[in-house]
Symmetry: C3
Subunit: 338 residues, 3 copies
């Protein structure tokens, strides 16, 4: 029984993390993969172990469309078929390695670790992308020693901004995230969160007050796509919405890389017209500080879970509803795969 | 079956390790605790995990007499009762966390991890305390990757001073600790060790020779309280003891924090009238060097134990008697709790 | 069932790693040993744990021909017999520790971890030695987090030089190691590999071409003794071999120190007449870089093995023949010991 859903598209890397001429090791649902680019730039994902003596292919060499193991020199095509063994013209049986369906979209490399016959590229959700001319974006990534579901919980309940990010993201947003819950709608592949923050300062300490609409899609297995639009005061309750004064987007992904190991990719974007380098440095500095705070509390939480007495009772609060809904969605997919 | 006695007062921190406004994580018999101070300065010990999503409360914020979890904002009183959940006025069931009896005495914070009904503050032994005007004291602490019983063994058999501390504590004491055994008396809650060192140099290489009386109480679960008094020559065998020339005290505690994890707190004191800063620096330098030597050999010993073949025979020597007596006392308490 | 053959001579250290007056901890087939030298310089190997409280004797003190435990002062002779216990004249039963047969030969210290009655010093193979006047030699050592059999595999199949050491050893040798296999002959205690490289540059980019004879004995449990001789062109196929133009030797050992822990010792030698310091620095720099490359790929390979799915099929290629023969030799010895 796997602990992970396999028949889903998972984000395994930012596009820029895989250069033209060098393989990169990544992990998804416990599987070690090697990513590399064909001569035409398209991405390949193979099992990251040679069929011969199990050396990682990510220590290998890209040769045109192929990847050569740099232990004893076996060469593999982008379908995982062994094409060459040094010193012999005979390819032995069992020499192929597994290839995984991949898609590159919205500056992310997606991999399907499940049944290849079920991999439909059209199911890959569209995000903003780092090269979107509407937005100036900055991107980063963090490895977690924690189960990905703890990260999903965190991202499906933004009430934590008032506490974990009290002096960073929570403060800059100028809103009270824990005072009331967002409206949550179930989508086919996730949840839609919508909420208005009425009459709050656009920036902390600044006189301008605004109404802000926060729209978040949180999609399976852990794709966070958020748009934040601030309007002139009164917009929250107006029937005709005016043009927003200020907009931001967040593009994030949570990927289980192994047991209690996860990778978290994030990008933040502001409207291109506003994006001076200093402004972007400031925003991205707050983002990085905030996501360091998440890592601290979530990894600490994981350690507590790991030694929790079996009879420990747990309290449920209204904020847990959305995280529980998302966990249930994953459980249903997992149950369907068994 | 626990590996630790629970119905005992354990030292979990020096008083100065818990400031007025910041919680501190400690461990005792495997339990994660958070310590913090109420507005009036008294110490509180709670289970170090929020009842909601198990974030450590030691990452939380002290608010008056209460402690707020800084993941989703639940607030707990000093009895562990949940007093506030953001966004709702209803406190959910099972939201309380466990509180532990605490006592602050002799500059130590003591916690009772067992049945609270049995926690009697009068059972907390009195030590010297860092603020005792009679003594100038310096204090430190070391974490061990070793079972606390190996530390108890070490402290119940000071013959090791001649070998482990040959060039540090053993040398400065000027005595032959391994030449003969102390007189050992059984107390209700530990052992009393007494011995005279006759006609030894007060300091190495100095002409003044003295008779020295060494009195050590080693109390459950691992409290080391030693007084060293040096007298004019002949005092050891005199019926009327003269006034001592020089006195020192040692206050130490060994606490099991987890499986093969321990915390060792120590303070050394000399008579206040002798305590120039240089003298104290010298004494404390030797103490720190010596306790680094103990850590080296005990952690190495633990590693050897962990891979000892099951059929390995062990030799017993006369020095093992007192450590064995103390182990038996702990075993009896443990058996009584089962 | 042991995972290691015990009735074999194992290399545990370079001679210079055990000075006259200081014990040294080593490991072989999972056993912790302490090495020290008697007053006459000969090497002793004892079990590295005191019979009393299991402190490592390698933290002890050499006293003449004896070794004293520096925890409580027990003293052991070079046969492992306890000779002294502080504070008593009675040596308790079970106080002896195990002593192991040792031999010092060819600058290596060899230990026999098996049945002492079977330890025959004449079975210790002769290597070149660091003090051999014919050769200028440099020596080093690396610890591996990998099973020793992965190192044996590596050293019994030098086709990896073309890939792992493509820019280091493989490049400097100027030969195509993976193009064809050496002639392999079975010896009583290992394998003999012989091969000619015909018409290759003596050094990369230099005009002089040579024929080179490579002769490697790989002996149980993992002793690598290689001679490389380069001759004028044509020598490979001549009946009367001319005098070699250039010769080198390699002396290496692979020792299992524990489960998936190994120690690899290596020395490289060139003819003394050629050995300027710059030349030796250059050679040894390439050797160290190359053996760092081996460590990288072998430790990575070990990690992949450790999480290999049970049903993973493996491909076999012609180069695997010699490593498989050597593994079979070890298995036969192991089976015989059970």
């Amino acid at each position: 029984m796997s602990e992970f859903v396999r028949n889903l598209w998972y984000v395994v890397a930012w596009s820029h993390e895989v250069p033209a001429d060098k393989p990169r090791a990544v992990r998804v649902v416990g599987e070690p993969l090697v990513l590399y680019r064909r001569a035409n730039g398209s991405v390949v994902a193979l099992e990251d172990r040679c069929s011969h003596r199990q050396a990682p292919l990510s220590l290998g060499r890209v040769e045109g469309d192929d990847l050569r193991c740099m232990y004893h020199g076996l060469k593999f095509g982008c379908d995982g078929a062994c094409k060459e063994v040094p010193g012999t013209t005979t390819i032995p049986p069992r020499a192929n390695v597994r290839a995984f369906p991949t898609v590159e979209r919205s500056s992310w490399i997606w991999v399907w670790p499940g049944d290849p016959a079920k991999a439909d590229p059209k199911q890959v959700p569209e995000a903003f992308g780092l090269d979107n001319s509407e937005w100036a974006m900055r991107a980063g990534g963090i490895d977690y020693d924690a189960d990905y579901q703890l990260l999903n919980d965190n991202l499906c309940d933004l009430s934590h901004l008032d506490f974990v990010h009290e002096k960073t993201l929570g403060w800059t947003s100028g809103a009270k995230w824990s005072a009331e819950l967002p409206r949550v709608t179930t989508l086919d592949n996730g949840l839609l969160f919508e909420r208005w923050f009425r009459n709050h300062p656009l920036s902390p300490g600044k006189p301008l007050h605004v109404d802000t609409l926060n729209t978040l899609r949180y999609l399976l297995p852990g794709i966070f796509l958020m748009t934040t639009q601030s309007f002139p005061l009164g917009a929250a309750d107006a029937t005709d919405k005016p043009k927003p004064l200020y907009r931001r987007v967040e593009q994030q992904s949570v990927t289980p890389t192994g047991h209690q190991r996860s990778r978290y990719l994030y990008a933040t974007g502001v409207e291109a017209r506003l994006a001076t380098p200093q402004f972007m440095d400031g925003i991205f500095g707050i983002i990085n500080a905030s996501f360091g705070e998440d890592k601290t509390i979530i990894e600490a939480q994981q350690k507590v879970w790991n030694e929790l007495p079996a009879d420990r009772k747990r309290a449920f609060i209204p904020q847990d509803k959305a995280p529980s809904m998302f966990r249930k969605m994953l459980e249903q997919r997992l149950a369907a795969e068994r």
